[in-house]
Amino acid sequence: MILIPCPNCGPRNSSEFTYEGENKERPNAATVTKAQWRNYLYLKNNPLGWTTETWYHSSGCKKFLVAERHTMTNEIRSTKALGQQGGAS
């Protein structure tokens, strides 16, 4: 059970969170091409190593947060509340 340091609640079990994965920037819907849009929909980074991803603390503060996690060791080196400066680690 990964321990995720929620910037609001403190360290909590990952079972309290919903994994959202990589949060990609939404293309401008008015001008987007099919290729760009489907890249946005389907092509996510899948790195072996550190990754930046979004989690939703659905059983806690109900806030979304951004975590840096290592996909091999599951170590989390930082978390940050969305829209906030700094963060817990």
């Binding site: 059970m1 959202e20 939404r26 008015a30 946005y40 979304f64």
Partner: protein, 934 residues
């Protein structure tokens, strides 16, 4: 034969754990025996002179006590209704019914033993090379192989007694209560940490328990200190079974009242692994004969239970443990005829048998010695499991002839005791104490200053296998010959060898056999053990019952405030996600006709309900719905559909405008949680500057739909502060007022049934009261409660689709017949590009109304529309309509068929093809909506 020869209990021993005043009666294979309180099954059987306790897995060879601890693969029994009980660990209980597993018909005469004669043919992986042809016979061969499957029996009936799991949060968790573990626990606790100390045996002490008088005294002193320390919690007969990410540790507590064992989930700041050492077997011919025992098995039997494991013993040893065993045997009156010390050049060639049990040994000097007990002390395995599970890779210590923890240890995990090194008791205690302090420091302030004293394995002879072939994996009956053959065939890496021969894959999970497996492979490959490497230890450290892992079931159930009423009025429940809902109250068709002609009420509490407040709510609505929301007046409600960014429909519902900056949104019952997260996601990650606050009020309101031509009349009996007339309160509007004296109720003029209807949302505490009042006042109208089935029929008559039934995971907006709703001229909304492209291409199925040409035929939902062998659509909903007296359907079809009047072939589950006609409208009933607007 079982070979019972009367009691072999010796005189009282200093450290014995049995109570000689308390006799326990049990049966073994139907025969009655007596043991003492504190005995394990195995110590009691040994005390009764029983030497053969089981048959091996593949060759059904006779087996006796080998390692004499929990891991002993020869000591698995069926005990009452419990399979695979570890007889060398499990204590006797009065009336226990113990039997041998995996024998047919009996332990004494086991026909499976014929496999021994065939062993030269049944080499590793033999089944891969045969039973290939004819193919149709393999299932028959398979059944024969299955008959040799090992293990006990589970009964078909019986229930799971929930064992409560619990959570613990110590600063330091110490796995292992031997001298190093106790020492670590004491020093960590002295340093101020809360310590949880877990010991697998029934009492603390580790190997000291079967040691000398001095060792026993040390153990006793440590035990007393541990017991007296307020910061140490001790669990015995418990085991640390696994270590997972960030020191999430599973501990199994056994021997509890009512339940067998339970799970403790521990989040510990630091973990100290102090599991001690496991004695490893030695590979030689006859090494699995009953009467061949490891030195620690002998030490336990003699010193803890005062049992004589034989009469005439030979000891083969490469270390002091064998010497200690010889000493113990002499002390209890066993004739130790020879001690063969490998350190002084002694060697063991083979063990010989008579009547299936050990009768003598052949030594490397050519001598043959008669004996009924051969004690083997060939060395140790460090069970590095917990460290492996922490990411550590063990390395082979050439001098000590065992794998030891590698240098890459997680900085919150520590190791001490035999896992790390050998030494005097003082050295062990000193190392344990230093590591305990380190663990406490790391737990408290993150950095470690204490330096642990040097501690490493003593030199040990590499005694893995001798000059003859023998059993390597006792659980799986894999011999060193099997391993050599497999390696020769090319299964010559440790992982391939393991999979091909199944060595290390049985119940002992490598604790006894991995090192010897690796040693044999290394010799076959002409490599060193280091080069060959070892297999990965996987959790759990010891097997855990499904019952303990499952624990108590926490599956939340949700009820509406009217649930008690439904249950007492014939409501038949169905499970709808977490909700329990009445499907009907006896006759759904009758419920339909009552609603169509009079009035009925349905409990729709599970509908998702949210209050949205703020100045930017319309922005949010315009973003998440495919239609427009800017001009929704206060008091009006509107239907909306939500799609994902892929254009696929994921929810629909109605949202109303309560007051200037306040809206009330409803969603599908199953979609509520998803919609809430979806809205929050867009608000928090996309538009944090928007002023919108969402409150989930799904359960705050009991929701009741009052449907039928007489619904207005009924409601008006209970409402005085809202004008319910069609002029004052038209269709698709909402009002807030008092119902049956309950203020703050929302009333909506909407409905799923197609009738004039009012959906009321009542503060939930009053839900049952209002429902009862409606039933009471509706009696004059012949009111009926109706369930989901009646609603499904009526919504199908009305042609309303259900998201997830009439749409699926790829149904985009324009496939559902909501072209009128999707506003591509809006600036933007979620999924707009995909919907634009779907609109342009016309791709995807289309939802249509279908009437079977034979009005009595109701095609099963999911019946396929097949033309020229190609699937062109399917029926998504179908019912017999009591209102229209005919069958009606909705279906998804390819665009070419989505033309009114098209006749489509529908393939029923039994293969029959019936014809159906595509209709002009989804609705078969009042498609113009005159009734619901009335």
């Amino acid at each position: 034969m079982s070979g019972a020869q009367g009691s072999s209990r010796g005189a009282q021993r200093l450290g014995e754990v049995v109570d000689r005043n308390r006799t326990i009666t049990f049966t073994f294979n139907g025969k009655k025996y007596k043991g003492l309180e504190g005995d394990t099954i195995i110590s009691a059987l040994t005390a009764n002179g029983v030497k053969i306790v089981s048959r091996s897995w593949k060759y059904h060879r006779r087996r006796g006590v080998m390692s004499g601890n929990y891991h002993d693969p020869n000591c698995h029994f069926q005990v009452n209704d419990e399979p695979n009980v570890r007889g060398a660990h499990r204590r006797l209980e009065e009336g226990m019914v113990v039997s041998t597993q995996n024998v047919s018909p009996s332990l004494k005469f086991d026909i499976g033993a014929v496999n021994q004669k065939l062993s030269r043919f049944l080499t590793a992986g033999f089944y891969y090379k045969t039973f290939i042809k004819p193919e149709r016979l393999w299932p028959t061969y398979e059944k024969v192989l299955q008959r040799f499957a090992g293990g006990g029996k589970v009964a078909a009936t019986g229930h799971h007694v929930p064992a409560d799991k619990r959570y613990a949060h110590p600063d330091v968790l110490v796995a292992g209560g031997g001298p190093s573990g106790m020492s670590a626990a004491l020093s960590a606790a002295d340093a101020g940490s809360n310590v949880l100390l877990v010991e697998e045996e029934y009492e603390l002490g580790g190997f000291l328990r079967w040691g000398t008088a001095d060792e026993l005294a040390v153990a006793q002193s440590l035990r007393e200190k541990v017991a007296a320390h307020p910061k140490i919690t001790t669990l015995t007969n418990a085991v640390v079974a696994g270590r997972y990410d960030q020191n999430w540790v599973s501990v199994i507590e056994r021997g509890l009242p009512v339940v067998m064992e339970s799970l403790i989930k521990v989040r510990t700041a630091t973990l100290v692994a102090a599991p001690g050492l496991i004695e490893r077997p030695y590979v030689f011919e006859g090494n699995d004969l009953p009467g061949v025992m490891l030195s620690t098995a002998v030490l336990r039997l003699v010193n803890l239970y005062a049992v004589k494991p034989g009469e005439r013993a030979v000891v083969f040893t490469g270390n002091d443990s064998g010497i200690a065993a010889a000493e113990a045997l002499r002390g209890i009156g066993v004739d130790v005829v020879q001690v063969v010390d490998a350190r002084h050049g002694g060697g063991l060639v083979r063990a010989t048998s008579s009547r299936g049990v050990l009768s003598g040994v052949e030594l490397s000097d050519g001598s043959k010695v008669l004996c009924d007990l051969l004690v083997v002390a060939a060395g140790w395995t460090a069970p590095t499991t917990l460290l492996n599970l922490s990411g550590n890779h063990p390395v082979f210590d050439e001098a000590g002839a065992r794998f030891v923890p590698g240098p890459d240890l997680d900085d919150t995990v520590f190791a001490t005791g035999g896992l790390v090194g050998d030494g005097t008791i003082d050295e062990i205690l000193a190392h344990g104490a230093a590591v305990g302090r380190q663990a406490s420091e790391r737990a408290t302030n993150g950095s470690v200053t204490t330096v642990a004293p040097a501690f490493s394995p003593d030199p040990h002879l590499p005694l893995f296998f001798g000059t003859t072939k023998g059993i390597v994996d006792f659980s799986e009956d894999v011999s060193s010959k099997d391993l050599l053959t497999a390696a020769h065939e090319g299964y010559n890496s440790v992982e391939l060898l393991k999979r091909y021969t199944t060595a290390t894959m049985g119940p002992a999970q490598g604790k006894l056999e991995t090192i010897n497996t690796v040693a044999v492979l290394a010799s076959a490959n002409g490599e060193s053990i280091e080069e060959t490497g070892t297999t990965v230890w996987r959790p759990p450290y010891v097997p855990i019952t499904l019952g303990a892992l499952a624990g108590r079931s926490y599956e939340p159930v949700r009820y509406s405030p009217m649930q008690a009423w439904h249950e007492s009025h014939g409501g038949i429940n169905i499970v709808a996600g977490q909700w329990m809902r009445p499907e009907h109250y006896g006759d759904a068709a009758k419920e339909v006709s009552t609603v169509r002609s009079g009035v009925g009420i349905i409990d729709v509490t599970p509908l998702g309900k949210f209050e949205l407040k703020g100045t930017d709510v319309t922005k949010l609505l315009n973003l998440v719905y495919v239609n427009k929301w800017s001009k929704l007046e206060v008091g009006a409600v509107r239907y909306g559909v939500m799609c994902g960014e892929d254009g696929v429909i994921f929810d629909d519902g109605v949202t109303g405008h309560l007051s200037e900056d306040r809206y009330f949104m409803s969603t599908t019952s199953s979609g509520a949680a998803g919609v809430y997260a979806h809205l929050e996601s867009w608000l928090q990650t996309g538009f944090p500057e928007w002023d919108v606050t969402i409150t989930n009020v799904t359960s705050a309101y009991a929701s009741i739909n009052i449907a039928g031509p007489q619904s207005r009349e009924l409601l008006s009996k209970l409402v005085s502060d809202v004008d319910l007339s069609n002029e004052a309160f038209p269709y698709m509007n909402l009002r807030t007022g008092t119902i049956a004296g309950v203020p703050g109720c929302h009333m909506w003029r909407i409905g799923f049934t197609g009738e004039l209807s009012f959906e009321i949302h009542v503060p939930a505490g009053f839900g049952a009261y209002v429902w009862e009042t409606l039933m009471e006042h509706g009696a004059d109208f012949g009111i009926t409660p109706f369930g989901l089935e009646a609603q499904r029929i009526m919504r199908l008559e009305k042609g309303h689709f259900i998201v997830g039934q009439d749409t699926d995971g790829v149904t985009q907006g324009f496939s559902a017949g909501i072209d009128w709703l999707i506003k591509l001229d809006k600036d933007d909304f979620i999924g707009k590009p995909e919907l634009q492209w779907q609109h342009d291409s016309g791709a995807g199925f289309r939802l249509v109304g279908i009437h079977p040409n034979d009005p009595k035929q109701v095609p099963t939902e999911a019946s396929q529309i097949v033309i020229d062998g190609i699937i062109q659509g399917r029926i998504t909903s179908s019912r017999f309509s009591p209102t229209l007296n005919r069958s009606i359907c909705l279906g998804l079809v390819v665009p070419a068929l989505a033309v009114a009047g098209t006749v489509v072939p529908i393939r029923l589950p039994n293969g029959t093809i019936i014809q159906g006609t595509v209709m002009e409208h989804h609705a078969s009933y009042d498609h113009e909506g005159a009734k619901l607007r009335g």
